[in-house]
Symmetry: C2
Subunit: 366 residues, 2 copies
């Protein structure tokens, strides 16, 4: 089909997706629903996204020859996870448009860059100090106080790459426990809730966000998302503003998530502290598949194609529950529930902590 202008992509085109997990899988299905073909590039043999893609390439992210062949077969490139090496994106962006672009990726990949970027926009974060070595950690602890959290600057997710610095901690041991990598030390934020904004910014500047989600974690993994979050209207509006501000500053293209803490003072006034920005579709947006007019996966595809963004309207009040490890054994029981939509990711092996699927329950609005 014909495109609408020179820069946009048309149905029939092929979307290249780096990463073959459940996010790539759901992105590929969303693209197919819009008449697009998909090509997954991933290093894992049993990538769940391979099963629903038009084509796939089994390749490492540093295999430049395979990446070039991949680029030659697609019309644009996106990715399902933020730990794609920046060099991979650098190699691809000379060949095909890559969304979100490298600036968004490199900003979010490094906690120090990311927090400096937020603070530069006047967005509040937890207090933090750069920790380049064990000696710097002692100085950082003197500044931030204890307890504090030492985090590697790069490649952290689901609580990995983090260590708590307690009163009694041996600083050298804590630093070594994270592999001696460049870190930041973060002050502990006392918060009442964790929330996230899932938003999209299109190739042509259009911005759209879903209602703010409230997230409940268990063992550092998202267990449950509730929409709308139990926060004031004013706080919700400020959370959306922060997301819009970040998107504009990065000239961002695609769906992204902003994770925030809600802190309350003695009078119950809510204050937002931004934790991180995730440049991809996000687990706390999975409810949109069955609970909103347009899913975050479709929204991402629309955004990177330069197409109009879809409606973010909810079908009701939402509860999304992750099915982690053996929790997925409940799939059959959940299917009997009238309000539940269960989604399974087609992963062959059930492992503790592994995200196997999720359930979205939609209730009448209160």
């Amino acid at each position: 089909m014909n495109g609408v202008n020179g820069s946009s992509i048309s149905p029939g085109a092929t979307i290249g997706i780096l990463g073959g997990g459940q996010l790539g899988r759901m992105l590929a299905m969303a693209a197919a629903q819009l008449g697009l073909k998909t090509h997954i590039y991933a290093p894992e043999v049993d990538s769940p996204a391979f099963d629903v893609a038009t084509r796939f390439t089994l390749g490492r992210y540093d295999d430049m020859q395979a990446l070039q062949a991949f680029a030659a077969q697609v019309d644009c490139v996106t990715y399902e996870f933020e730990n794609i090496p920046a060099e991979t994106v650098a190699a691809l962006e000379h060949l095909r448009p890559v969304y979100p672009d490298r600036a968004a990726l490199t900003t979010s990949q490094d906690r120090l860059n990311e927090k400096n970027f937020f603070n530069g926009l006047g967005i509040a974060t937890a207090p933090f100090v750069d920790v380049e070595d064990a000696g710097a950690l002692a100085r950082a602890v003197a500044q931030i106080g204890r307890p504090a959290i030492l985090k590697t600057r790069r490649f952290g997710y689901d609580g990995k790459g983090q260590a708590v610095v307690r009163e009694s901690a041996d600083l050298a041991a804590v630093y070594r426990s994270l592999g001696g990598l460049p870190c930041i030390l973060e002050g502990v934020v006392r918060f009442s809730r964790e929330i996230s904004v899932i938003a999209a910014r299109s190739n042509n500047g259009q911005f759209s966000a879903y209602d703010v989600a409230e997230n409940i974690h268990s063992h550092h993994i998202l267990a449950k998302t509730i929409v709308p979050a139990h926060i004031s209207t004013g706080t919700a509006a400020r959370a959306l503003d922060i997301a819009a501000q970040i998107a504009t500053a990065l000239n961002y293209v695609g769906v992204f998530a902003v994770e925030m803490f809600v802190a309350e003072d003695a009078e119950g006034t809510e204050r937002l502290i931004v934790n991180e920005m995730v440049p991809r579709v996000h687990n706390s947006g999975h409810w949109t598949l069955d609970g909103a007019v347009t899913s975050q996966f479709e929204q991402h595809i629309r955004a990177i194609c330069g197409w109009p963004l879809g409606s973010t309207r909810r079908h009701g009040r939402i509860e999304m529950q992750n099915l982690i490890g053996v929790e997925a054994e409940a799939w059959h029981d959940i299917m009997s529930e009238a309000r539940a939509s269960v989604r399974l990711y087609g992963k062959q092996e059930m492992r503790p902590g592994r995200k196997m699927g999720h359930v979205t329950r939609v209730f009448e609005e209160n």
Copy 2:
């Protein structure tokens, strides 16, 4: 994942689908959302369903060797269209469970068998007479009157295989125009509306139906579906009863459609006349993808797997519009509409009369 009992299929299993069009494509995506793998078997090189399936076989429906190899790689078999040769199903059913079964297929494939089946259940149809040859046509016309419609007993769809017998018609010429095949002659039904029921019956006997849909055709092709249909509550209940009666009589497994006419007498009392039963997911159920808790595609997969059927609840008042031929060029404009979900089938060639996609618009309930 573990199954619940010996006869049911579990996530991780492979669903074999005969037919590679948009219905196969949407079935395959629904199966993938439930953690299943899919294998499409179709004779057309550019089958849109190939793009979203785990595997595909390009093969003819009479290639018994290819069918056997296909069966060996799947856990059960279903199909996306009702003109699959019964011999194909006969060959497969010895190797793997096939749903819906051959009885449902052979009943619905032959208009004479189908109408006799309906009448045997006390379900009203248009008057009809078997027409085995040109001589029989003259006797049939004497019985039914003119105008009447001559229809081939087998392989008709979207108005193909039909000819109107008008006052002035040369009967021999009309008969020849349909290729001299076995036919039936049908009396013309004066109806006020065309409706359809999309229903499912599970492997374990559970029955579930969506609200009755009203269908508007143009040039014998479905143009628009509205849900709920503009019929009385009593008529809607009778329509659902008829679908349940048919499903039970056939011991049916899967999703099916029953097309009906609503005739009104002088006092406005509505009467239902069943046109045909279609043993597969149906165009007038496409709205369920974006307008109901469970799509007809997911419902079919649940039914054939022996899993609990999902909720058929609507998200609002529905209008589904087919995008036929060049109508699909409007995809970009439709994407700007707040209430519209556009689905494109990934067909490479846009031809007049070809179903390229559809739009579902969901409105607040009146």
